[in-house]
């Protein structure tokens, strides 16, 4: 029996167990063929080692030090937290029930990195009953949300919007129980054993349209040309978000979520605790919006698209192709996200992925079936999410 290359290599690196090592040594002493191979392997290893030595740092040039690194890390973390706190600030307070509902499903996963998108969509969503989802791509850079605009949106949300919450956060031990609390039929895959479900409260947001304030916001974001009908002034727009049910697959440890210093502990932590192997599955009946009679929805839709940075012509063209009373138009940033249509759970759905990081980046799979919005959110390959979706009973 001759030796394998790998074993010879390990022997030369003194990485074999002592007894195996002496067996190899004995064999090499008696076998010329293996000895020749061992010589060649050693020669190869030396040669490659010399070539790779070029990657060795010149010891004089190493500026790296753990303490300095720690400082850099601290400021990177701080920047990350400030960004997050800014986001939280805009969307905390009375907005919580609304966010827990609608955005966790549709917007949150997408727009975590883009608080301005959330602001735009939330303050301005022309949702009726969502029966389908369409995607519009936009360039976040052209939105240019300034601090001033963010502050104005915040005051709009806190002064002109009334929030009511219905129901409390509850946990349920089975799909049937969760469905009983939430008031709709909760679906799970055939093979999934019963586990714990989160049932989030529902909410209602009523917005009395304040045209001068909206106008000021449009100006602040550099879109003074966005036009809204005068008849909207003082009209109520009501957004109702039903209770939603969330289940987790894989290694999710929501209770281990690190609390970021200075962060509102009541704020749902969305991203940090979602681990690589965690898939979050959310379902909720379509939110609804009631708006004044005679409202030109397409015109509102166009304003929404312009808010996202589309030119007036592009926005008008796109707006005219969409049935705004049944379609939620999801903003997806260019470059950062890719999207594709997929058939899922027997209907057409949308798969959105972070473009820059297919290995670790998150994906969200969205579809609407029989009046229920479903969302699966995970990291890396979407196969796990697709399997769950296609196994739903």
């Amino acid at each position: 029996m001759h030796l394998k290359d790998g074993e010879i290599r390990a022997y030369q690196d003194q990485e074999l167990q002592v007894d195996r090592s002496s067996q190899v040594e004995a064999h090499l002493a008696s076998c010329a063929a293996c000895r020749e191979r061992a010589d060649n392997l050693a020669k190869l290893s030396r040669e490659v080692g010399l070539q790779l030595a070029a990657t060795q740092a010149d010891s004089r040039s190493s500026p790296v030090h753990a303490d300095a690194g720690r400082k850099r890390f601290a400021s990177a973390i701080q920047a990350q937290q400030e960004k997050q706190m800014m986001t939280n600030k805009i969307f905390s307070r009375g907005l919580r029930p609304v966010w827990v509902g609608l955005t966790l499903v549709v917007l949150l996963a997408i727009s975590l990195a883009f608080p301005q998108v959330r602001a735009a969509a939330n303050s301005f969503l022309a949702l009726f009953r969502v029966q389908q989802i369409a995607v519009v791509q936009f360039n976040p850079q052209t939105m240019g949300m300034s601090d001033q605009a963010a502050a104005q949106i915040e005051s709009l949300l806190s002064e002109d919007v009334q929030f009511e919450q219905f129901g409390e956060f509850q946990m349920a031990g089975s799909a049937a129980e969760a469905g009983g609390i939430a008031g709709f039929n909760v679906r799970m895959p055939e093979q999934a054993p019963d586990g714990d479900f989160d049932v989030q409260p529902g909410g209602r947001a009523t917005f009395l349209v304040d045209l001068p304030r909206l106008k000021a916001i449009f100006d602040a974001i550099g879109k003074p040309e966005i036009d809204l009908p005068e008849s909207l002034q003082g009209q109520p727009v009501t957004l109702e978000i039903p209770r939603q049910v969330t289940a987790y697959f894989g290694e999710c440890k929501p209770e281990d979520a690190p609390l970021v210093e200075g962060q509102d502990p009541d704020m749902p932590q969305t991203k940090p605790w979602m681990q690589d192997a965690c898939i979050t599955f959310t379902q909720l009946p379509s939110p609804s919006i009631s708006a004044p009679d005679g409202l030109d929805i397409a015109q509102l839709g166009q304003a929404y698209l312009q808010l996202l940075g589309l030119s007036e012509e592009d926005a008008a063209r796109y707006a005219s192709t969409v049935d705004w009373t049944t379609t939620f138009v999801l903003p997806v940033p260019y470059n950062d996200m890719t999207y594709q249509d997929v058939v899922v759970d027997g209907v057409n759905g949308t798969l959105i992925q972070q473009a820059y990081d297919p290995t670790y980046g998150s994906y969200i799979l969205l579809w609407v079936k029989d009046g229920i919005i479903y969302s699966l959110n995970g990291y890396g390959s979407p196969d796990g999410g697709l399997q769950i979706a296609n196994g739903l009973r």
Binding site: L52, T55, S62, G250
Partner: protein, 195 residues
């Protein structure tokens, strides 16, 4: 759909009441972040430097590695955590290398300038080392990522056991994989220097 689909457990959580009382640092799956940082920052930077050949870029990438550790700590603990850091670091380093455009004339000039500024007498030697490094980088970038990672980690002084942990391979197969990676590297190196 196969039976294995739901190998993933349907997550069972502890009561939410425990949650806020937790100490934030301990909440990160028991990770002592500061200690890990102290222990691994420099070696991780050094390993990434071997791939990208630039300290500030190496530190940028290491920063990304530790941010990921902080934001989404992996399941690994202890020495396995070191393996995770090396894996993510070498992955990101090789990604950076592959997406990098060929070094330009100006960058070569910058190496010479740098050598002059640092009053290294041997500017020609510095340039030669830099060109040698570029050649090695080019080969690493075109190899299979795992082979390139193996060579770099081994060259950085990691044991077979550590390499096995970092790359999620059986410890007994490291010798074989290493011999193969070396042969592959040598073949590419020779081809580059003949052509």
């Amino acid at each position: 759909m196969s039976e294995t689909t739901f190998r993933m457990n349907f997550y069972k959580r502890r009561p939410a009441a425990n949650r806020r009382a937790d100490d934030p640092s301990a909440a990160q799956t028991g990770l002592d972040f500061d200690a890990v940082f102290q222990q691994y920052w420099e070696p991780v930077c050094a390993v990434i430097y071997r791939i990208v050949g630039d300290w500030s870029e190496a530190e940028d990438i290491a920063l990304e590695v530790f941010l990921q550790l902080h934001n989404r700590p992996p399941a690994q603990t202890g020495t396995q955590l070191g393996g995770w850091l090396y894996r993510v670091g070498t992955n990101l380093g090789l990604n950076a290398l592959r997406s990098r455009k060929r070094r330009t004339y100006y960058e070569t000039q910058a190496v010479i300038q740098d050598a002059l500024e640092r009053q290294i007498d041997d500017a020609a030697g510095a340039l030669e080392r830099s060109q040698e490094m570029q050649q090695v980088q080019a080969i690493l970038a075109e190899m299979k990522p795992r082979s390139a990672q193996l060579l770099i980690l081994r060259q950085s002084g990691l044991s077979y056991a550590e390499v096995a942990q970092a790359l999620s391979v059986a410890p007994g197969s490291v010798g074989t994989l290493l011999a193969r990676a070396e042969a592959d590297f040598a073949r590419r190196y020779r081809r580059k220097n003949q052509g």
